[in-house]
């Protein structure tokens, strides 16, 4: 792997803090700020610990960074941010952004985002990104000064391109379908997983009622009392065990969520390609029509119907001088157009080449990460089964003593 920032610098999002402040319209608001700590790695190998630099950032600043990266590197599958609002929640989880568990998971997600960017061969070299990590004040102004917002394509333009492009690269069309499918299947999976978690929670917690009743019942029993009482205790343990189990599963859900959002990033690259391709096709079309116009004027033949042609027929033709002038203008435009088309073609080819390289990199990363996540899911299930076996073995022993 190339020498990326992640290898030179240790990056963590170590803390989250509630803050109050005044927003753009001078109204009081509460938000969470996250502490980013960085430390140079090299000096550690010499046995010395480098000093830690730190600064605070809030979620909106992360969003600004990501928007900048998406616009500046449209051929890169830019890592996604963790979700803005809690989604796919099952009943016990809060949908409140201020909920400590949500904040904690977001902190981890933000750290993951920074590490992804820092390990990307292209993105890690970006100066704005580096400043985001190291320069607390004036960063926002710095980003805005790049003028990246002007480079951003309008959504409408992009949508238009999607429907009207005639010859998109087949690979991008396939990739677009894949990213749609990935988005749809992962969100379905996350929704059902949340429902499964809800139900599993119910099964475990109802067993907790056994504990209470067994205890009350044991009070009136002589021989059965002890067995009942201790069995009840194990039922309480069983009911309580689900909390940790489901918390661990939330991390698995977060791993899947990252790729749900990655699908959107993939889609963005495809959209950029469509836009560029559409632009190219429009430029080529424009050039062709200009050449045609030129030819018509030069030869005097009208091949295509045009209002101008009709009016000139009706109201008399132009003077040779007028015609000459027009031809000259057109010839200049055609020259410009051909140059532009050439550079657009070049741009397009470069885009496809570099985009495809990053997509291949992304595919490998995705396969690796998702496989790991699925395996960790299996490990979690195994752990849950082992806990269940433990509890019920103990309970069985208590029941035998009844």
């Amino acid at each position: 792997m190339e020498d990326c920032l992640a290898k030179k610098m240790e990056i963590t999002v170590s803390e989250a803090e509630k803050r109050t402040g005044r927003n753009a319209v001078n109204m009081q608001e509460t938000y969470t700020a996250y502490l980013i700590e960085t430390r140079a790695v090299e000096s550690q190998s010499e046995g010395q610990c480098a000093p830690v630099d730190s600064l605070w950032r809030r979620y909106s600043e992360f969003e600004l960074l990501r928007n900048y990266l998406s616009v500046t590197y449209p051929h890169i599958v830019v890592p996604p941010l963790p979700e803005k609002r809690a989604d796919f929640v099952w009943h016990k989880l809060s949908a409140d952004n201020m909920d400590p568990d949500f904040v904690e998971r977001r902190r981890i997600g933000l750290e993951n985002f920074l590490l992804r960017v820092a390990s990307h061969p292209v993105l890690c070299q970006d100066k704005i990104f580096y400043s985001f990590l190291t320069q607390e004040s004036g960063w926002k102004e710095m980003v805005n000064e790049t003028g990246f917002q002007l480079k951003a394509d309008s959504r409408l333009k992009a949508l238009n391109a999607t429907f009207r492009v005639k010859n998109p690269d087949k690979r991008f069309t396939e990739l677009k379908h894949y990213s749609d499918e990935l988005q749809s299947v992962i969100s379905h999976l996350l929704r059902v997983r949340a429902r499964v978690a809800d139900r599993l929670y119910g099964v475990y917690k109802v067993h907790g009622n056994y504990g209470r009743v067994f205890s009350e019942w044991s009070a009136i029993e002589k021989e059965m009392g002890d067995g009942l009482q201790s069995a009840g205790h194990h039922m309480d343990v069983y009911a309580a065990s689900i909390d940790d189990i489901l918390e661990e599963e939330e991390h698995y859900a977060d791993q899947l969520k990252e790729y749900l959002f990655y699908a959107e990033a993939l889609r963005a690259v495809c959209r950029k390609h469509e836009l560029m391709q559409y632009d190219l096709e429009m430029a080529a079309q424009d050039l062709t029509s200009k050449k045609q116009q030129c030819e018509e004027l030069a030869t005097g033949t009208v091949r295509t119907f045009s209002l101008k042609g009709m009016t000139s027929k009706l109201f008399g033709q132009e003077t040779p001088e007028q015609r000459e002038a027009k031809i000259k203008v057109l010839e200049e435009q055609i020259q410009e157009g051909e140059e532009q088309l050439k550079s657009k073609n070049l741009e397009g080819r470069d885009f496809v080449k570099s985009a495809w390289a990053d997509i291949e990199r992304f595919k490998e990363q995705k396969n690796h990460d998702l496989k790991e996540a699925l395996i960790s899911y299996a490990v979690m299930q195994i752990s849950m089964c082992k806990k269940g076996i433990q509890v019920w073995t103990n309970a069985k022993e208590c029941f035998s003593k009844m």
Binding site: Y178, E181, L182, V185, I186, H188, L189, V192, R193, R195, V196, D198, R199, L200, G202, V203, V206, H207, N209, Y210, V213, E216, W217, A219, I220, E223, M224, G227, A231, N367, L370, K371, L374, I375, Y377, A378, V379, Q381, I382, C385, K386, G388, I389, W392, T393, A395, K396, F399, S400, M402
Partner: protein, 393 residues
């Protein structure tokens, strides 16, 4: 198998094996002396102009001398079982008559005459008859014998004999009378203790019944969600290459866990739920028995009170009082013995039922564990294979 309850001469217990219905109740004293075997099966629907009803086949095999034959096969309907129960209650007011399944299930989830309802009822009726057969006194009851052996027309004509309407009303009359007479003030301490115990027991068993049903319901909902969860992974695998096998593996594991969950639920509904329900019914029955004992006591007490002032006629009524005193002593002794027996059986039933619940859950978790472990093993094998192939030039 050391997990079975210890076999002792007082109340040995048989393991509950799902395959054999015969083993689903406890033997009294020495199991080798068992001489009456009853099965209830083969429900059949009968449609007449007036009504539709179900009959069950009752097969009896016996070596007892009082029975003319060694094998009997008769058909009985629910009404007949109700008749038998009321005759037994009449003949033995202070014995604990086993519970009958209810007339209707009000929970609304099971329709009358659905296969599930009929099967649940059949099992309960089978248990009812076998518990009577196991009871040291009830097993020799004449009406019980007629129930097991008489042909349909014989049973009808026998039912019509005897103190029919009055005896059926006797329960109600006595119940009303008892609220007038009481019979509580001279109640022996022992029965007050039993009463207090039964009040608490009744409360707890009702709550347990509700908890068990709730668990069943939650497991069912969990199963439904899991059934949707697995196939999503298969769907996903269709758009992937590298991770397709992994995804399919997860889908297959979830599917196997679903089957294990179904088994766990079946275990609950075949074992825990029926037993808890029976003991809910038993607690009602026991409260009834205690009341009847109080009534009998009450009869004696009120007679004694009434005659307390008539000093001269005491001799005339001493015989009557004597008879009532005997009646009370009999009732008390019968109840005491039956209570001890019931308590022992209850303990046995509860122990084996809950052991069964634990074993059920253990089986479930062990099956799921094996599934996921074998999946994990297959995945790490793949990883090693990949790594090896990368090393090769």
């Amino acid at each position: 198998d050391t997990s079975l309850a210890e076999v002792n001469s007082f109340s040995p217990s048989m393991p509950i094996s799902p395959s054999s219905m015969i083993n689903q109740y406890k033997f009294e004293d020495e199991p080798e002396l068992r001489d009456l075997f009853i099965t209830v099966d083969d429900p059949e629907s009968h449609i007449t102009a007036i009504e539709t009803f179900i009959t069950y086949r009752v097969v009896t095999k016996t070596s007892r001398g009082e029975f003319d034959s060694s094998e009997y096969e008769v058909r009985r309907r629910y009404q007949d079982f109700l008749w038998l129960k009321s005759k037994l209650e009449e003949a033995h007011p202070t014995l604990i008559i086993p519970p009958l399944p209810e007339k209707f299930i009000m929970k609304g989830m099971v329709e009358r005459f659905s296969d599930e309802f009929i099967e649940t009822r059949r099992k309960a009726l089978h248990k009812f008859l076998n518990r009577i057969a196991d009871h040291p006194t009830l097993t020799f009851n004449e009406d019980f014998k007629i129930f097991l052996t008489a042909q349909a027309w014989e049973l009808s004509s026998h039912k019509k004999q005897g103190p029919s309407l009055l005896s059926r009303m006797g329960q109600t009359v006595r119940a009303v009378a008892s609220s007038v007479r009481g019979g509580v003030k001279n109640r022996p301490e022992m029965f007050t203790e039993i009463n207090d115990y039964m009040e608490t027991f009744s409360q707890k068993i009702n709550v347990l019944d509700k908890i068990a049903h709730r668990i069943y319901k939650e497991e069912k909902e969990y199963l439904n969600e899991m059934k949707e969860y697995g196939p999503i992974h298969t769907l996903w695998s269709a758009s992937e290459e590298d991770i397709a096998d992994c995804l399919k593996g997860v889908a297959s594991c979830i599917d196997k866990c679903c089957k294990a969950t179904e088994k766990r639920m079946a275990g609950l509904s075949e074992n825990l739920l029926p037993i808890l329900h029976e003991y809910v019914l038993y607690s009602e029955i026991l409260m009834g028995v205690l009341k009847r004992r109080d009534q009998i006591q009450g009869e004696l007490d009120s007679r004694v009170d009434a005659l307390a002032n008539k000093k001269t006629e005491k001799d005339l009524f001493s015989e009557e009082i004597g008879k009532l005193e005997d009646k009370v002593e009999c009732a008390n002794n019968a109840l005491k013995a039956d209570w001890d027996r019931w308590k022992q059986n209850m303990q046995c039933d509860m122990r084996s039922t809950f052991i069964n619940v634990a074993e059920n859950n253990l089986r479930y978790y062990e099956e799921c564990l094996a599934t996921w472990e074998s999946f994990l093993a297959s995945q790490t094998v793949d990883l090693h294979v990949e790594e090896d192939s990368e090393d090769r030039p």
